[in-house]
Amino acid sequence: MNQITTDLLATTPDAAGRFGDYGGRYVSETLIAALDELDSLYNRLSQDPDFQREFDEDLAHYVGRPSPLYEARRWSEKLGGARIFFKREDLNHTGAHKVNNTVGQALLAKHMGKQRIIAETGAGQHGVASATIAARLGMECHVFMGEEDVHRQSLNVYRMKLLGAEVVPVTSGTRTLKDAMNEAMRDWVTNVDNTFYIIGTVAGPAPYPRLVRDFQSVIGREARAQSLAMTGKLPDALVACVGGGSNAIGLFYPFLSDQDVAMYGVEAGGDGLATGRHAAPLSAGTPGVLHGNKTYLMQDEDGQILHTHSVSAGLDYPGVGPEHAWLKDMGRVEYVAADDEETLAAFHEVTRTEGIMPALETAHALAYTARLAPTMGRDQIIVVNLSGRGDKDINTVARLDGIEL
């Protein structure tokens, strides 16, 4: 494993937005000027104490931070190994970690004087978080969502509409998250003068992976302080699910130079990695270029992007944030996969044991935790990012359990 020093972190990404060989800015020329503008604004505001104060106040009073670190005692006991703690991002306003980022990016939009917000969404959590912040700031909001996801996540679609957003069903390609992102890019290229694109994950062209990471890093900063306060030490392991990877990077980032903290990013194993029906580019993909960045992708030998499969719409994406690609190659984070079946089992188990109903995305991290915890000692600590709540998924779960609601 290559050591990640604080010096290395300070220079990653570089000025071109590269994390090692990954990241960068692979977009059509029309968008470059807007990305340059965003980059220079963010360089300035990220050093500006007033902006940071504004962001922190929104996180405290609107999002409801800090989110608790909760010890899942019954589940830990049942698994019979490490003490498991949940970082409760599900308790945030709108029910997931996504809102940390939308609050931050909406502040940037405000500073740029943009009155129109666009966003892509898979599970609908980022769409809801974007629609929420747009409502609060009185901005117009358009959310692009794959037609298949519109059906899978009807509750969140209605939430977005209640919040005043227009939900645009995307019928091109595979009709899921990647196609929603294509369509959002097409809208942005057309309306670049008055529109701010709130990307929901740590992917996309520079500077998005960096700024989304920075906005989400509040998760790891809090978890670090809470772990020290509650247990007197840093966690031995961190576990988070990885689709694009924003909740994972948010938890991991403040611990990256702590060499003794192990990290596990859990991808969507779908029907199992061996079947090819999954959404696990870090576990089973190869590097390529999509959606503005170089990263690991699910692709065929001709460089065409493959259909993905996951029980969770939010992880059903063929790419991943470039910083994760870098961390994989550096050996700093271990990327693993949990399949649909063990994910569903973990969903039920945690719901019944702790009275906390996780999102199906989050349940992937819990499924891996159920494998990891028994291999560790009772004096050891795992922090799992409980990235979102599962209310949105009850229709899917019922269907998989053969129940009609």
């Binding site: 071109a16 960068g24 692979y26 020329e29 470059i32 000027a33 290229v189 460089g303």
Partner: protein
């Protein structure tokens, strides 16, 4: 950076000497029929095309409007990939040694093939240039090394949003010609602003003596004629892709589709040729006074 002696430079030089602009049709490789592309390229040349732009199908064509997106999807469904597009170029080249062909597409299929391998195969096939929509100058260094090695031009986009200092940066790495994207939007959009095109083409000419072609939003002889007032070349894409898709959907066979496509390109040709040759010379600044309102309608 215009030291290439390739077909593209030659073709623009010939056109310039004759006081004409280039007509550059865009087609998606393998669309609307798997085997139509090579005969189509020959027919379009007969109908007046000067350069052929062959689109490489990609699963995620982010810069395309619905018309060309569907073209990519149809071609992918027929199994057409980058290597097939290169094979079409090679086949075309057997009967046409002069007409430049450029591939337009997205980075990932080229990344997937490997830059060195792509350069070798493209060179063998007789390809002249590559335009990767999502590879701006900042990301192109490794690819360019290989393209240069085999003498392929790398075509770059300039957009309405590109500031002057960036135009300079782009023209430093561009070869062949500069492709000006006539509007903020995707291919096939309907809001072409001729005055803005004229202004931006003049801006580009301040930094380079390379020819400037204009694409996105050109549909017919009238819009082509307006753009030809300012530019050295006119690209027509969505209108052609749509026309052929409609014919194929209506059950027309290959011959009827070829006839329809050739008729559209001939119409564009006449529109472009209706423009006088006062601005045909592509040397910097001469276009600034062009009056777009005088555009002829074919």
């Amino acid at each position: 950076m215009t030291d290439n002696n390739g077909r593209i430079a030659r073709r623009f030089a010939e056109l310039s000497a004759a006081g004409r602009r280039a007509v550059i049709p865009y087609l998606v490789a393998g669309d609307p029929l798997r085997d139509i592309s090579v005969p189509l390229m020959h027919r379009l040349v007969e109908a007046g095309a000067d350069i052929i732009e062959l689109g490489v199908p990609f699963s995620d064509p982010m810069a395309e409007g619905p018309t060309i997106q569907r073209g990519h999807e149809r071609a992918l469904d027929k199994g057409v990939r980058l290597r097939d597009a290169l094979a079409m170029v090679a086949e075309f080249r057997r009967n046409d040694a002069d007409t430049p062909v450029l591939l337009m597409g997205y980075a990932n299929p080229v990344v997937g093939m490997g830059f060195d391998c792509f350069a070798e195969r493209a060179s063998e096939a007789g390809l002249d240039a590559l335009l990767t929509v999502d590879m701006p100058p900042e990301e192109v260094e490794a690819l360019n090394t290989h393209l240069k090695r085999v003498g392929l031009d790398n075509i770059f986009l300039v957009a309405p949003t590109t500031p002057p200092e960036r135009v300079e940066k782009i023209t430093e790495v561009a070869t062949g010609f500069v492709y000006y994207v006539s509007l903020k939007g995707v291919t096939g959009a309907g809001h072409l602003d001729v005055d803005s095109v004229t202004e931006h083409v003049a801006l580009i000419r301040r930094y380079t003596t390379l020819p400037v072609a204009v694409g996105f939003g050109i549909k017919d002889a009238e819009s082509a004629a307006k753009v030809a007032q300012a530019a050295d070349g006119v690209v027509v894409g969505s209108a052609l892709v749509q026309l052929m898709a409609d014919r194929a959907a209506a059950g027309d066979g290959e011959q009827a589709i070829l006839d329809a496509a050739a008729a559209l390109v001939a119409e564009i040709r006449s529109g472009v040729d209706s423009v006088g040759d006062s601005v045909g010379d592509s040397v910097g600044g001469s276009v600034a006074g062009a009056d777009a309102d005088k555009a002829g309608t074919a």
